[in-house]
Amino acid sequence: MSGGAFLRPKHIGARVKRVEDPRLLTGQGQFTDDRIVPGALHVAFRRSDHAHARIAGIGTAAAASLPGVAAVYTAADLEVAPVRATSRMRNYHATAIHPLARDTVRYVGEPVVAVLAENRYIAEDALELVEIAYEPLAPVTDPEGAARGDAPLLHEEAGTNVLAQREFSQGDAEVEMAAAPVRVGGRFRFYRKTPLAIENRACLAEWDRGRRSLTLTTTTQVPGIIRDLLADLLDMPGHGIRVVAPDVGGGFGGKASLYPEEVLIAVLARKLGRAVRWTGDRLEDLTSTSQGFDEIVDAELGLDAEGRILALTAEVVGDVGAYSIYPWTAALEPVQVISFLPGPYRVPAYRGHVRAVATNKAPTGPYRGVGRPVSTFVMERLVDMAARRLGVDPAELRRRNLVREDEFPYRVASGIVWDSSAFGETLDSACTAIGYDTLREEQAKARIAGRLYGIGIATYAELTGIGSRISAAPGMPINTGTETASIRLDSTGAVTASFGVASHGQGLETTLAQVIADELGARLDGILIVQGDSAAVAHGTGTYASRSAVLAGGAATQASRLLKERIVRAASYLLEAAVEDIDAADGRVFVSGTDRSLSFREVAKAVYSEMGRLPPEVREELEVAKIYDPVFGTTSSATHIAVLEVDPKTYKVTIRRYVVAEDCGRVINPMIVDGQVHGGVAQGIGAALCEEVVYDDMGQLLTASLADYVIPAAGGVPSIETIHLDTESPSTLGGFRGMGEGGTIGAPAAIANALADALAPPGVEIFELPMTPERLFRAIETAKAKGA
């Protein structure tokens, strides 16, 4: 390998302005609905308004005859196999997902009829003329009730509503718990959320009649997954289907699964031989985009008299909605609640058991943090409850139990291994940054003045950049553990790097270029990142699970190094110098200690366009594709500290300060890292204080507009101070760690603990989120009545 010794990286770690910004700032982005296709048919869906019902009959004649309507489809008109998310997990039941409901509807918002028309206005007019006769079935909305043997079944073939069950254990937790001098516990409830990207889901399928090929432009985080599935479903070769995720307006996991609309649009485009498109509206987003964070956790923590953890037990019920989503399965989130519950702590004895239960609600899927926001909420509450019981400061209690540096690699009871991460340092760093001791003094003064002032800590750990040995669900139909980088220098000397990732706000076009600029020696502005396109590489999945910096960054590093070697070898011939004396930077190759150099452009011309310049035996392809597999992935961790006040009369919550100290590995672009933290924390604050998807007992969605599903606005998110502990991961190429989800993982717990701390004087415990003003009112009134 050529001498990297005399070049220090200068793009990795730098606050480089984003490549994406000029087009996004000027309205020149290309979001899915922006793509103009004259003559495309617009789809509107008649969606179920019953949570559970048999479809007795559908009348489409009136709708079909409305001027401007091209066609109306029901499940009966389509011949396409249902999609099932398969897995080798024991006690798992896949469910059949049809593009349009067949025989039975299982949640309000499930698509039943598709109308195709000249424009969306006419399509919606036609929807009103569709007649559907339903035979209502008993809706199942309580997951604990749904899990009982006598509950109405959502899926006959499964024979149960418990779609998945899993247990992790180590030691004999029940025995250890019974003997523990200190025990704290309770029933924790995290209520349902929706990712709510500002761009609603949309897709556009174009069929090329001449080439018999399909291009699906869709607001997806996972173009590769969609392409591979459609190839099966449509019985077409992969090169005949191209799935493009253009500019995508946020995803957060809600766009990381396959959706029935995508299958339908693709099938219809091929069937009709023309372009078919659907742009969902906000009502459709609220009713049918995958939801998350809906768990009931009965948990208990046992400690000794010095506050060292002895045992942890948890019984979890995850409400996963009506279907097991593709490809992740319904087990995705619930299982992660129990696999990550022990957190960054030393937990000698553990038993975590989870059931993923189907109900007549929208299916759940990945949402930023996937299970870890819930597990962190529970564990961090337990730790604070234990601290209060023991009369120990919560930061100190954590210090006594956090896995220490000399204990890495540390195997968690669930089998997850923390390779190495700065758990304790994040805690210390956050405490220092926020002036923890001073805050406690301020709190004491505030309490005397009758103010409800709270400080909440949350320390968490997660696994990011996971490789092929860690699977979200064993035997699930996709491979999340590898990423490909295909990098080439073209005949003009420009660098094009293609990946299977799909950026939707994280700035991958910039960060990956930063990695390549340093590793290849190219100019930053001479690099084009191609991604969000199933045609870009042979296999790809997309961007989710905090993987892209690690996997794509690792693959980019590997491919760049190899390509650089080839460029240097060509340059060595052209410059008549030894390979060891040549390096590359800023788009030039140069002989050290001399002023002899060539631009990449000149090298490319020589290699590609000047016939005979290089002898055939010397000429190498200036194109390298590498697959990177981190195998296990790496640990990321952080400590969040929130300071808030609750108005003692109105119970309005104001967050005064918020600090995040994170171990996010080698930082590629600190500006982008900050942005990810801020955005995640904002979603976490929403999860803790105001966001909740509410269904009534009949499975009707009550939060059906943005006035009812409330996300934080600018006034509800404080300035967030971030500290990056730039500790390179020992486990990943490049030392990167994933950090896209940390904000939502730590924030709900930090806010919950801060609320519990603020409300300790009136004796209020926090067991559920969101703690809306109404819930705070109830909790405080109840506590006052008890105290009175």
């Binding site: 302005k17 984003r18 994406e20 910004d21 000029p22 087009r23 996004l24 700032l25 000027t26 309205g27 020149q28 982005g29 979001f31 609905d33 922006d34 103009i36 424009n119 206005y121 990712p195 709510l196 990207a197 500002i198 761009e199 609603n200 500019d247 995508v248 307006g249 946020g250 957060f252 742009t279 509206d281 906000r282 939707h504 706000g505 994280q506 700035g507 500006m671 982008i672 900050d674 942005g675 933290v677 801020h678 955005g679 995640g680 924390v681 904002a682 979603q683 507009s705 943005l706 006035a707 996300i711 934080p712 606005a713 600018a714 006034g715 998110v717 300035s719 967030i720 904000g743």
Partner: protein, 156 residues
Amino acid sequence: MSNPRVISTVVNGVQYERPVEPRLLLSDFLRQTLGLTGTHVGCEHGVCGACTVLIDGHSARACLFFAVQADGSRIETVEGLGDVDNLSPLQEAFREHHALQCGFCTPGMLMTCVDLLRKYPLASDAEIRDGLSGNLCRCTGYDHIVRAVRAMAAKR
């Protein structure tokens, strides 16, 4: 198209005459009829702010305004602020402070900022946050946007 009315409107300084159905929303007129897809649609009930444009110089939701109403009016959208080779100072400030991630809320956010910077002193971050309260962003957590606006307010 039923009951089309011909409207005459100026968008980003360019005059357009088009037949429109009365119920056509301004957001759809801009995007579909004129091909100006910079204005984005997020909710169609006036809450998210992604569709914010300037109508006769004042910020307004394009999803709550009919194209027919734009007859005789002056509309300004994000496309009129600057272009990729020549960003406006506000757009530069957004870039400098990383005030956008996915970019979907950004056009509406920018047009709101144009109006806020003209009308309000924005003397404190609290005031800036209040002014931005009608533009929802799910990516940034708002802090970087506030910094960009603070920088612009200071330069006025």
